[in-house]
């Protein structure tokens, strides 16, 4: 393994790694499998989502291991044909989750139940009459959408919407679960929190594209007032993205990337291995390959 410290050579396979653990493991699995095929070690480059996509458009990066849709759909459209997205995706989900204690103590079943002041008060910790709901990290695309959803459904009136680091929010789920306290929070799967705790995904109306109008803050200072999203998220998915030029540069690897088929349980287990079991992404990747050699052989047949 080597890390990009300067410009990669033209023939190097450059694998982008975003910050979250399962993407790092996926990246290293791709790297190990590519090495098996070509004998060459890939170069790994850590960068944010948009930075990686821009680097792919510039021809500086070849692989984006975990491309979230619909979150990055607009960014993918912007870079156009320079990116190919594998047709073999992993089903994901995003929405609002509750601890088991929240369900048992309040009877909450749906996201709209948060409009009920009595239920919302169950999540109040600072005595302002509103419950608290973490809606994501301030830097995430989804966080603005969650603010829009809260306003459209109406629970922005009953809940205090909190933005902050995911580690802080997950620690609150840990503490709430340890004490049997009710907690609601923005959640996405696959994610290791579902392996750590008994978590319930709250129900909501199926996504209706006609009811969704997401205006970006960069485009309109009144983006919140001019946006609406009163139904659930569109079906989410994770796919491997790669530079279209890879089909010429390393056709065997492009072929490999089009064949890889992870399952949601794989992604959650990768996240758990790194975050909870303290494995390095490299070790988690090697362990995964050893444990799944038959499946890998099946992909390649």
């Amino acid at each position: 393994m080597c890390w990009a410290t300067g410009a990669a050579l033209a023939d190097d396979l450059v694998i982008g790694l975003t910050a979250w653990p399962s993407a790092k493991v996926t990246g290293h699995i791709i790297g190990e499998l590519a090495k098996e095929r070509t004998g060459d070690s890939p170069v790994y480059l850590e960068r944010g989502s948009i930075g990686l996509l821009t680097a792919i458009a510039r021809g500086e990066v070849d692989v984006y291991p975990e491309l979230w849709s619909p979150n990055l759909d607009n960014a993918v459209k912007r870079i156009g044909d320079s990116l190919t997205v594998s047709k073999r995706s992993v089903a994901g989900h995003q929405g609002i989750c509750a601890t088991r204690a929240a369900v048992e103590q309040t009877g909450i079943k749906s996201v709209a139940d948060l409009n009920d002041p009595a239920i919302a008060a169950a999540f109040d910790t600072d005595d302002d009459g509103k419950g608290e709901l973490w809606i994501g990290d301030g830097s995430w695309f989804s966080t603005n959408v969650e603010r829009i959803r809260a306003r459209s459904v109406g629970y922005d009136q009953t809940m205090q919407l909190l933005e902050g680091a995911e580690e802080v929010a997950m620690a609150a789920v840990d503490a709430g679960s340890a004490l049997g306290r009710p907690v609601v929070f923005y959640c996405y799967s696959p994610h290791h929190v579902f392996m750590l705790h008994d978590i319930v995904v709250l129900e909501e109306p199926a996504h209706d594209a006609a009811s969704w109008n997401i205006v970006a803050p960069a485009d309109d200072k009144d983006w919140l007032q001019h946006s609406s999203a009163a139904t659930g998220w569109d079906a989410s998915s994770l796919s491997i993205g790669y530079a279209t030029s890879l089909a010429t540069k390393h056709p065997a690897i492009a072929d490999l990337l089009g064949r890889i088929q992870f399952e949601p349980a794989d992604i959650a287990a990768m996240s758990y291995a790194v975050e909870v079991e303290r494995k390095s992404p490299e070790d988690a990747a090697r362990d995964w390959i050893i444990a799944n050699r038959t499946r890998i052989d099946g992909w390649l047949q």
Binding site: A121, D126, D128, E167, A172, D174, A175, R181
Partner: protein, 226 residues
């Protein structure tokens, strides 16, 4: 839904009960009710300064739930991480095998309006306490300590202090001991995150400079917004 809206703010002005009973470092005008769980009656009961002092006088300790204890705690955080739940008045020190040592804490209403991730940047035994200028203005008796009150049993910072840093800079927030152990479990006055002296000494021995500290976005952490 017992225990859900379990704390009601009590404003105590000037010479109110809490202020009358508190020492120089912690006597301020606000207190916030907590509730604690009465296992015998299976109900939440109010826990305020008066009850806290009565309890401590009667039993010589804080209620069972605020005593140091090892608890089951499933988390992705590494062993050695500190997690502070200002709402429930607990500080967790994460241990291996999904366990944590849970300490009861008191938090300051004035000095605890933040949440996030910081690090222990400095550690001091029997620290000196220097009252801020506004505290001296509120209570002229504090003027005698303008240049620092030496460490000792009466010092509001107690037996140990762990100074919390963010980005290499002192946040002015501390995890420290207290001269008033009965105040554990309450939100009272200024001061940061207080443990009784036995507990803060125990915690101090288990952590090092660089320890990650997570302050949850709940309870007192939200009083001035996140």
């Amino acid at each position: 839904m017992s225990g859900i809206s379990r704390r009601r703010m009590l404003e105590l002005s000037g010479a109110g009960l809490a202020a009358a009973m508190l020492g120089a470092g912690e006597a301020q005008a606000q207190a916030v009710y907590s509730q604690i769980y009465d296992a015998k009656r299976k109900t939440w009961i109010d826990y305020d300064p008066k009850r806290a002092m009565q309890y401590y006088k009667a039993y010589g300790s804080v209620p069972e739930e605020f005593k140091r204890q090892t608890v089951s705690f499933r988390t992705a955080e590494k062993p050695g991480t500190i997690i502070i739940d200002g709402d429930r008045h607990f500080l967790y020190l994460v241990r291996p095998e999904f366990q944590a040592i849970r300490y009861g804490i008191g938090v300051g209403r004035d000095g605890f309006g933040w949440a996030g991730i910081v690090k222990v940047g400095r550690m001091v035994e029997w620290p000196t306490w220097t009252p801020p200028a506004e505290m001296i203005a509120r209570d002229p008796r504090n003027a005698q300590w303008a240049n620092g009150m030496p460490g000792g049993p009466e010092n509001p910072l107690g037996a140990r202090a762990m100074y919390l840093y963010e980005g290499g800079k002192d946040t002015i927030y501390r995890i420290h001991g207290t001269a008033e152990p009965w105040s554990i479990g309450l939100n009272i006055s200024s001061g940061c995150i207080r443990l009784n002296n036995d507990d803060v000494t125990d915690l101090y021995a288990r952590v090092a400079v660089g320890t990650k500290v997570i302050v949850l976005m709940s309870g007192a952490a939200l009083y001035r917004g996140v």
